[in-house]
């Protein structure tokens, strides 16, 4: 009887995986966003709800339909790659997060290093889809061992050109905008005869970290856990022509069925725009 049950479960999992693939294929028949950003919020609250420590919430995983344990970020990233979304940006760590308890910050740094080392050594998902990894933010604030891991992971994927994964850590939008303005001013000062009137919104936009990494304009911004703020994430990029979704689902629970309505809304917008 046990083998019948196991066979049935495997069959159902296979059918479910095929239906997911079919769904993604159907979605791909319509407009697909070029750039989607995720503010992965709610890990600690999810952990508390499930009776775990806050630190464990950050590395929590769940059983994928294939039977492998995958973290939500990998699952969503794989869905994005299937849909040919060219750029995904995730908010991994804010500069303000250094205010958290030291043991939590330490655990996050350790987790970041482990993940980056894994990417550098294996990077199966990134290599499979030709994804280039960019780590954006005030890197100098990170511990040296994490900076080393970042350099390795970026070098390992720098030749990939099919898609981009931006990991913002530690990041703050005002810091990014300030650096862009600083760069623009420095570039002008480096010229013998500069014309300040040539500095425009576009000039600053081109010097943002996301743009310097090759990211297209942001089409969709998603924040999980029901919080309705940007919290310093991609303020310049999402203040115009970006659909913002503040969903109630906690990040560890966020999956395809939360993502599909968001993609459908995007498609409606593109169709409405092209018909008007």
């Amino acid at each position: 009887m046990t083998w019948i049950l196991g066979w049935t479960v495997s069959l159902l999992a296979f059918i479910k995986a095929q239906l997911v693939t079919l769904l993604l294929h159907v979605l791909s028949a319509g407009p697909i966003p070029r750039h989607v950003a995720f503010e992965m919020d709610g890990n600690r609250r999810f952990a508390r709800l499930t009776g775990r420590r806050a630190v464990e919430g950050h590395s929590d995983g769940f059983i994928h339909s294939s039977g492998y344990i995958l973290d939500p970020a990998s699952v969503i990233l794989e869905i994005c790659m299937h849909l040919d979304i060219r750029c995904v940006t995730v908010y991994a760590f804010a500069i303000e997060n250094f205010n958290r308890p030291p043991d939590e910050v330490g655990a996050l740094m350790k987790l970041a290093e482990e993940r980056l080392i894994e990417i550098a050594q294996n990077g199966a998902l990134l290599s499979q889809y030709g994804v280039r990894l960019n780590v954006l933010g005030h890197r100098e604030l990170l511990p040296m061992h994490v900076q080393v891991a970042i350099d390795k992971a970026e070098r390992m994927t720098c030749q990939n050109n099919r898609a981009i994964l931006n990991v913002c850590a530690p990041y703050a939008s005002r810091h990014e905008i300030t650096l862009a303005v600083q760069s623009v001013v420095q570039q002008a000062l480096d010229k013998d005869n500069f014309d300040s009137s040539l500095i425009t919104e576009q000039t600053i936009e081109e010097n943002l970290m996301t743009s310097l990494g090759g990211s297209p304009p942001l089409d969709i911004f998603i924040r999980t856990s029901g919080v309705k703020r940007l919290s310093g994430f991609l303020q310049w990029q999402c203040c115009e022509n970006t659909q913002i979704h503040m969903v109630n689902t906690y990040w560890p629970d966020f999956g395809l069925w939360d993502f599909v309505p968001i993609l459908l809304d995007y498609q409606r917008k593109v169709w409405a725009r092209s018909s008007s």
Binding site: A172, S196, T200, I204, H245, R268
Partner: protein, 316 residues
Amino acid sequence: MVASLFLWLLHLLHASLVFLTTKFQKRRYLPPQPVTAYRSKLPKHLAIILVSYNAANPKHTEELYLECLFRVVKWCKVLGIEQLTAYDAEGTLLGCSDIIQERLTHRNDMLTDESESELEYPLTPPLSEASESRSHSPDFEDFPVQLNVTTVSTSRKGASHHRPREVAVRRRAHDKHPPYNPLTLHIISRSASKAAIASAARFLLDEEFRRRQNSDDLDHVKAYELPISKLTSVPGGLPSPDFMIVHHIRPQDHPPPLELHGFPPWQIALTEIHRTIAHDVALLKHPNNSMPSLITEEAFCRALDEYAGAQFRLGR
């Protein structure tokens, strides 16, 4: 082709689910608390974004925007919200800032019979043309950035109107006019948004160039460094709103997702964002069969209820 057909069916299914969900929510509609109910926190600075997708009738859009603005101004003054920023991307409000000032003055004058209110005129004259840019605050004397901001202040002289927000406001039955608190109103458009930061960058460039020209040492070989604190004092000079309400004056059955329509990006790091829901707004009959909507007290109160329930962890 087949995939497109299935996609169309998927959209139809999604639209149906949204329709049914909306109907179900209407049945379970719970009215928000009244405007003067106790709330654990109120925003000190509120922003309202007014959105219209129909450019066909700009005069009507202007009337709707103005009516929405005056309603929000009234509620803010009742609640003691100190600052209000009104934004629309096209600059419709900015273009009629003289009308706004005049009507706010007139409404304040109506209170003078029974109170000692006194209107303080704005620090700078109203704009004569919407496209003209100038700074509007003494804070900019040291940092002239081209902006397009109109600031209107209303205050009451001699009367004490400070009311701790923790204390519920009770109206006596015979009060005809609720007490009105001072309010600073900023009227902005997209020109005060990313353009303000670009303008700041141009100024910083000119400033640094002049400094290097006047400097005898070899500062020019050093890389230019810009601290965040210096840029913080610039873009728009607008303080950051605690709370933002996005209101569409032409709501749709299947409302599109939230967008910020070019609101100044520098100011929105920690701003709580809310969009009015169709059920709370007042639909108006219009000759061309459209159903424009004004922001209602219910919509405003629901927004405040949501703000009062928000948690701020500030990175922790």
